[in-house]
């Protein structure tokens, strides 16, 4: 859908408490244009719970239920049941960070998926606990500095899409804010499908990733161009890649060097300064290469 056809209605209002250059803000605006007014958000503890602004004001033009860190998917099951009792078909959406999704809330998310709650779970993934001051999460990539991985994380992130796939959801997708049309389309598609849906939006974070705040969208696009992040959809268990990721998969374009992505972020600076850490840069590249090798075999 061309940008001019996207809704003019702003359901995430200007003047919020988000950091300047916040990737989540972009994700929210695009997703809410696809979702529309008849939507209820459930938000666990995460950046978004701060972005809403303080009582008695909110920056959201739709109902938002804030809930404890581990509880958002279960709360969504309850909201869905309550709405169903009243014959309402309002979209129930969880909007959660990667900490709530990958870590503390994964049990309740798995439960809601298993009982086939009709809702859309959106994880805006900034690859760390940004809200609490940049700590390591299950989504933090190998090598990244955080305030709980001072020398760089020693492990890779877990594969949340594979976890979602293990629940046989009718619709799973990844997106990133640098491709707004793609993100909008995927949210719209999810909206049209009954049952549990999962969308994960890579959402760069200037203070956490340590880059200039004007480069949030650039970072997002670079994540795709380098193959660090892939745009994909999973329907009926079939994985399809789209956009630039599809071109990379099919060998139509060569991905940019992963090092371009790493070197643009202060959180990976220790891999380059004071001395180039060849071993870990190489390991990071291998992780990405292996991922694309699997993708070419039709796997995650």
């Amino acid at each position: 859908m061309p940008l001019r056809d996207l809704s003019k209605e702003e359901l995430y209002l200007p003047g919020s408490a988000a950091c300047a250059g916040c990737g989540d803000g972009i994700a929210l605006r695009i997703a809410l244009k696809a979702l529309g007014k008849d939507t209820i958000f459930t938000v666990p503890a995460c950046c978004t719970s701060v972005i809403e602004s303080s009582y008695p004001n909110t920056s959201f033009g739709i109902p938002v239920m804030n809930i404890a860190f581990a509880a958002s998917a279960a709360c969504a099951s309850g909201i869905r049941a309550g709405l169903r009792r009243q014959g309402k078909e309002t979209q129930v959406v969880v909007w959660a960070g990667d900490g709530a999704t990958y870590d503390i809330g994964v049990a309740s998310l798995s439960g809601a998926w298993e009982r086939e709650t009709d809702f859309l779970y959106i994880c805006y993934n900034n690859q760390m606990y940004s809200n609490t001051g940049i700590q390591r999460s299950g989504a933090t990539p190998f090598g990244a500095w955080t305030t709980t991985t001072w020398k760089g994380k020693e492990e890779s992130e877990k594969d949340m899409i594979a976890i979602a796939m293990a629940h046989h959801l009718p619709y799973i997708a990844t997106a990133t804010i640098g491709y707004p049309e793609d993100l909008h389309r995927k949210v719209q598609k999810a909206k049209s499908i009954p049952g549990p849906k999962y969308i994960e939006i890579l959402s760069p974070c200037p203070p956490g990733w340590r880059y200039d705040m004007s480069k949030t969208v650039e970072m997002s696009k670079l994540s795709i161009a380098t193959g660090v992040w892939a745009l994909l959809e999973v329907e009926e268990g079939n994985i399809t890649f789209n956009g630039r990721s599809k071109a990379i998969l099919e060998g139509k374009i060569k991905p940019k060097p992963v090092e371009d992505w790493l070197s643009g972020q202060g959180r990976f600076a220790h891999l380059f300064k004071p001395k180039r850490d060849e071993e870990r840069i190489k390991k990071f590249e291998e992780i990405i290469d292996q991922k694309w090798q699997r993708h070419r075999e039709g796997k995650l």
């Binding site: 719970s49 303080s54 239920m65 709360c75 309850g78």
Partner: protein, 390 residues
């Protein structure tokens, strides 16, 4: 009105049905399981029109209940022991969100070691969550209290969740006769919930975002005011229920032969019921004893307790302990009577399901009467009833 003979757990399910709860979310734990099974059966048979959410934990049970309640419908859940502890975070959330959820908690102790029997350690640990907490002494009271709880919780000036407690096995798995009023009588007593706030896409509001200290304190104060107002409402609601059904359980406190008593036993749940038997025996021996069975632990019936004469000696029997402090009920009673002359004695008894019989309670009262009791005493002895105390 129909008379049925059934366990308190099944009766709790009947009460949820009679109250026309619309969404039930629960996770099984012994000894609560038969509540969940029974409700599922009623729903499967088409006897109970509700949506049941089978959650993967108690934390999620309360989260789902909160979500459903926030849309404006009536909700029910049930748990016990470790399940209640696992819910703890969400209990606070439900109360601060002012959601009139009614939950049955089957009082069971805490591990390790694993022990499935009754004491009050689980619910006492939720004392400060903002929930109203009632304790029942019979299966009829479980039914009546669940119905009344919805009325109280949903009152405009209250809007707080209520935990209806009863003892594991002693009630949960024990059959007793229970009269269930006809549905139109219950519907008249308990009309459809009118939510004070709700999630509705025609009225966008954000619930629970960041709140600065000043209004936060005001909101906490309003919760305390609602708890205070509930004291009267608990009594008037019980009176209204009595007019409709003939059943009376005493509002915040059930007093039994306490008016002229020199010694009053204060206890909660089934222990308060057993104490009536002890008092009858003591009266036969010309010992003027009475019972204050505390029905409402939150709000605590401070004024009712203050009505006791300063000469009355109090025998407080706790099935829970605040380690490093003292019996929880004992502390509460002492606090209520601050500045007064009453002598107050406490017993820690019945932990982990250790039986406390009327014979035990008779011994406690006699120990106080004979000046042999210490301020704080522990139940002693071997197997079950009739154990030594001093």
């Amino acid at each position: 009105m129909k008379l049925i003979m059934d366990t308190a757990n099944h009766i709790a399910g009947e009460a949820a049905k009679a109250a026309r709860a619309e969404v039930v979310a629960a996770y099984p734990i012994t000894p609560q399981t038969t509540v969940v099974e029974y409700i599922q059966k009623l729903i499967s048979n088409g006897e109970f029109d509700a949506d049941f959410i089978c959650v993967e934990s108690e934390h999620s049970a309360m989260a789902a209940t909160i979500g459903a309640s926030a849309t404006g419908v009536r909700t029910f859940t049930a748990t016990s022991s470790h399940g209640l502890l696992y819910m703890h975070e969400m209990l606070h959330w439900a109360a601060l969100a002012r959601l009139p959820i009614v939950m049955v908690n089957i009082n069971r102790t805490i591990g390790p070691g694993w022990n499935i029997w009754a004491d009050h350690q689980d619910s006492m640990a939720q004392r400060d969550t903002g929930w109203l907490q009632f304790h029942c002494g019979s299966n009829q009271e479980v039914f009546d209290t669940v119905i009344q709880s919805y009325k109280i919780a949903e009152a405009e000036e209250i809007q707080l969740p209520i935990m209806v407690n009863f003892d594991a096995f002693i009630l949960s798995h024990t059959s007793m006769p229970v009269s269930i009023p006809d549905q139109p009588v219950i519907d008249k007593f308990l009309p459809k919930r009118k939510p004070v706030w709700k999630l509705d896409s025609s009225d966008p509001l954000t619930h629970g975002n960041i709140i600065p200290p000043d209004p936060y304190l005001e909101i906490r104060k309003s919760m305390q005011e609602s708890q205070d107002k509930a004291r009267d409402l608990i009594r008037t609601t019980a009176e209204e229920w009595k007019k409709l059904t003939g059943f009376w359980h005493g509002g915040t406190v059930e007093e039994y032969r306490a008016e002229d008593a020199d010694l009053v036993v204060l206890a909660m749940g089934t222990l308060g019921s057993e104490a009536k038997v002890a008092v009858d025996r003591l009266r036969k021996e010309r010992i003027k004893a009475g019972v204050f069975r505390i029905r409402s632990f939150r709000p605590f019936p401070i004024d009712e307790i203050k009505k006791l004469s300063e000469e009355t000696k109090l025998v407080v029997v706790d099935k829970a302990l605040s380690f490093g402090g003292e019996g929880v009920l004992y502390s509460e009673v002492k606090s209520a009577l601050y500045g007064r002359k009453n002598e107050i004695f406490g017993w820690i008894a019945g932990l982990g399901g250790k039986d406390v019989s009327w014979q035990d309670l008779v011994q406690m009262v006699k120990a106080v009467k004979d000046g042999k009791a210490k301020p704080v005493n522990w139940q002693k002895g071997g197997k079950g009833a009739i154990t030594g105390f001093i």
